[in-house]
């Protein structure tokens, strides 16, 4: 199994390290030619969604990746990744992949002083650490989106078939369970 990590900006190395600890090979997607390589799943890391969205477009990767996600490529978006996958961003006119039936609220907890650490139940895993950095949350879901976790009543993790999103950063804590969950999604998709 090989997982591609979008590496245009943000905390992509942290995801690669998590996957390496789980014995999974990774490749980095930095430009269009990288899409020719084989991969079984895609991780969109934390960072700035405005930067990642712009670079995805201008480096010629957005449409191709969007088509693959719509065609069942397993994808896991954390924080900025959640925003890129959302069909609608409540406080931003931009839509990037727009493949998941969720409405996201950017910087939902305010500026850096609003960043926090929490532990909450994650459906199918149990209680896990959650680090929120200038994080979004999911304001509402529709269609067949399954809510997987909440923090203080707000939706912070969800899944819609091949798409998994968290508004927190599993790659920043020691717990590998959400990455394992994603790897299982890839295994079961085959």
């Amino acid at each position: 199994m090989k997982i591609a990590v979008l590496a245009v900006q943000g905390a992509f190395i942290e995801h690669e390290q998590m996957l390496s600890r789980l014995g999974v090979d990774t490749i980095e997607l930095r430009q269009r030619s990288d899409l020719e390589k084989h991969f079984d799943g895609l991780i969109i890391p934390g960072g700035e969604s405005t930067v990642q969205g712009k670079l995805l477009r201008e480096l010629g990767m957005l449409d191709e990746l969007k088509a693959r996600i719509e065609n069942a490529l397993p994808v896991f978006g954390t924080c900025a990744g959640l925003i890129l996958l959302a069909k609608k961003i409540k406080n931003d006119e931009r839509v990037h992949f727009g493949t998941m039936d969720i409405v996201a609220l950017r910087n939902a907890y305010g500026r850096q002083l609003g960043s926090f650490y929490d532990e909450n139940e994650f459906e199918g895993i149990g209680k896990i650490p959650m680090t929120f950095i200038r994080a979004p949350y999911i304001e509402s879901v529709s269609g067949n989106v399954e809510v997987l976790a909440r923090s203080g009543g707000n939706i912070v993790a969800a899944r819609q078939k091949n798409q998994l999103v968290t508004s927190f950063h599993p790659e920043l804590n020691d717990d590998l369970s959400v990455h394992k969950y994603f790897i299982d999604m890839i295994k079961n998709s085959k």
Binding site: E14, G47, T50, E58, Q112
Partner: protein, 291 residues
């Protein structure tokens, strides 16, 4: 500041990696920077090149001006306070700035002590020109480091020197015997634990960006290849002929810093770069402030 808060502050710097932080002086410039792909902006009244030209004492910017920029963009907003000026830092924290740069670009307020950054909840980035300075700032509570370079010159030579120095010292500590680390801690004036971290991980315990003198996509790529995790661009953008295009090109150069073919395309038709001044022509070495 709790340990938890310090971790969250280091984490924000991790999110900025692979990105470009741009100096802006107005909400309009901030919007241009955001649209060009800046991962954060540094709000300041005058960019370093103008501070250098104007001379005199340079201080924290007007909070009203900073708030105008906070309202204009959705990306993190940073602002500078003077070295040792903890009251300016308190003010910046009060307006909920995302990152404070305790910066040698402004006139130092204290020629001996830096701010005790552990007393703050908001994160700090500090300049360093070698490993000792970097670790001393981290020990004082900085959650991100940048090379000092020489701000406002458009000359990359000092950023290169500082980054090479830091990397060389990291390699040297990485190859030391365990029992040599105690003496190194003493030499650098930092706790043993920080030296041990560098020995074990062969990197700083926080994110390390390049800053000071970056003016072109090639400069940005050079700093990334030398080990920077991202780049600050100050005067280089809004002192150039076509800020929008140059900013956008530098952002792409940081993402694909190893692809010379793409860098060649990005370097085409950018218009005038900032004129810049050579190291030998400068009268004021900002990098010598705060050690």
């Amino acid at each position: 500041m709790s340990t938890n808060r310090y971790e969250l502050n280091k984490n924000l710097a991790q999110m900025l990696k692979g990105g470009v932080i741009m100096d802006v002086t107005t909400p309009e410039q901030a919007k241009i920077a955001e649209a060009a792909g800046a991962c954060a902006v540094m709000a300041l009244e005058r960019i370093p090149a103008d501070i250098r030209a104007a001379g005199g004492v340079s201080r924290m910017s007007d909070p009203k001006m900073i708030k105008g920029i906070q309202e204009a963009v959705s990306i993190p907003v940073m602002a500078k306070c003077r070295i040792g000026h903890f009251a300016e830092a308190q003010i910046l924290q009060a307006i909920e700035i995302d990152y404070i740069d305790e910066s040698e670009v402004l006139s130092p307020a204290d020629d001996k002590y830096h701010i005790d950054k552990t007393k703050f909840d908001v994160p700090f980035v500090c300049g360093a020109k070698d490993l000792g300075e970097a670790l001393r700032r981290i020990n004082e509570g900085a959650s991100m480091i940048r090379t000092k370079g020489e701000p406002g010159t458009g000359d990359v030579v000092q950023a290169v020197r500082h980054m090479r120095m830091m990397q060389a010292e990291i390699r040297r500590i990485g190859s030391m015997a365990e029992d040599e680390l105690f003496d190194t801690a003493k030499q650098l004036g930092v706790p043993y634990e920080l030296v041990q971290y560098v020995h074990e991980h062969k990197k700083l315990p926080v994110v390390n960006f390049a800053a000071g003198g970056v003016a072109t996509p090639a400069d940005a790529a050079l700093m990334m290849q030398l080990g920077a995790e991202g780049v600050f661009v100050g005067s280089g953008i809004f002192k150039s002929g076509n800020p929008e295009k140059r900013a956008s090109a530098i952002v792409k150069a940081v993402t694909n810093f190893n692809d010379a073919k793409l860098l060649a395309e990005l370097s085409e038709d950018l218009g005038e770069a900032m004129v810049g001044i050579n190291e030998q022509e400068i009268e004021l070495l900002m990098a010598e402030r705060g050690k």
